[in-house]
């Protein structure tokens, strides 16, 4: 049972960081994008 806790914990930690980091990157990008016109975004 101890093993299961460590294994599940590892997966939760990894995917938690992935989700949090991704959310933060996208949210920050959206906030910046509100202040920049579309014609100055090379990807748009």
């Amino acid at each position: 049972m101890e093993d299961a806790g460590f294994i599940i914990g590892s997966y939760l930690l990894t995917f938690g960081v992935v989700a949090l980091f991704s959310w933060r990157v996208v949210r920050h990008g959206r906030k910046l994008a509100d202040r920049v016109p579309d014609d100055e975004k090379y990807w748009a």
Binding site: S10, L13, V17, F21, G29
Partner: protein
């Protein structure tokens, strides 16, 4: 666009639906990044299913081997990120164009790498507790991984020292090319020194693949999933950094313009011509 009108017998035009071209252009995302994001989520789902479900327990490590399906891909992502940082740094520094796009790619990649080295260290400690009985040992591989983490924290700090974008790019490019040299040392540390950490996960000393088919497949899914995640993150982060630089330039321009306007106001009374004396008004 037309649609069938159920209350009548003729088709009526519908013009209120937004064009798809506008609907996906939000923030730093595009249709390509959304498709990439979808593939990343699907492959992460596969990783969980194979890593925790289908993959068998190991003869020596027992169930703890399942941690390796996330531990190995996270350090792979970090290595990839730091190597991209070094390549982008070289591409900024050596060609005469000195394109800031390469500098932003280097910075974005290093941020992602730092986040995933941190995950590697923590998840590795959990794996170590199950396999070795301790969370941490001052082993060559572990110590050098911690050093790599600290080095790239330093790299990110140097990027925030201030100055122009070109100054930031030049100093961080030099640093990015120097600290990447830690990676081969870290990777081969298990061969260079007597290490508690296991050697190659994939192959035995003779170079043959030693893993069970399903184990190998689970690891492969993990590496693919985290590589897709890296590409998705770096695209978003590089675009955000381009906007940060643009807004920074604008802020500087408007501050300079405000200062110039202030200087013009200060100088105006001294340089303005003296008003002409009114002549003969008292005689009228």
């Amino acid at each position: 666009m037309t649609t069938f009108d159920p209350t009548g017998t003729e088709s009526v035009p519908v013009t209120s639906a937004p064009a798809p071209h506008d609907s996906y252009r939000v923030g730093t995302g595009t249709r390509a990044t959304r498709v990439l994001g979808l593939f990343t989520i699907v492959s992460m789902g596969w990783l969980v299913v194979f890593g925790l479900g289908f993959s068998p327990a190991d003869r020596d490590q027992d169930e703890a081997v399942r941690i390796l399906y996330v531990h190995v891909p996270t350090i792979w992502l970090a290595y990839l990120a730091f190597v991209v940082t070094a390549i982008a740094s070289a591409l900024y520094l050596f060609p005469k164009a000195h394109s800031l796009g390469w500098d932003r790619l280097a910075g974005a990649s290093a941020e992602i790498g730092v986040a995933f080295v941190a995950v590697t260290l923590v998840v590795g400690a959990l794996w170590g507790r199950l396999t070795w009985g301790v969370f941490w040992q001052w082993d060559a591989r572990l110590t050098l991984t911690a050093l790599l983490f600290v080095s790239y924290i330093g790299y990110l700090a140097v990027r925030r020292l201030g100055g122009t974008h070109e100054q930031r790019a030049r100093r961080s490019a030099v640093l990015g090319l120097l600290i990447v040299l830690e990676i081969p040392l870290l990777h081969f540390s298990v061969k260079l020194w007597r290490s508690l950490h296991q050697g190659s996960t994939l192959t035995d000393p003779s170079g043959d693949v030693k893993m069970d088919g399903l184990m190998l497949f689970s690891l492969f899914v993990g590496v693919i999933a985290f590589t897709l995640l890296y590409v998705w993150l770096v695209l978003h982060r590089t675009r955000a950094m381009a906007m940060e630089d643009l807004l920074d330039d604008r802020q500087l321009d408007s501050a300079l313009e405000a200062r110039r306007a202030e200087a013009r106001i200060d100088a105006a009374p001294e340089s303005a011509p003296e008003p002409a004396p009114e002549v003969g008004t008292e005689d009228r």
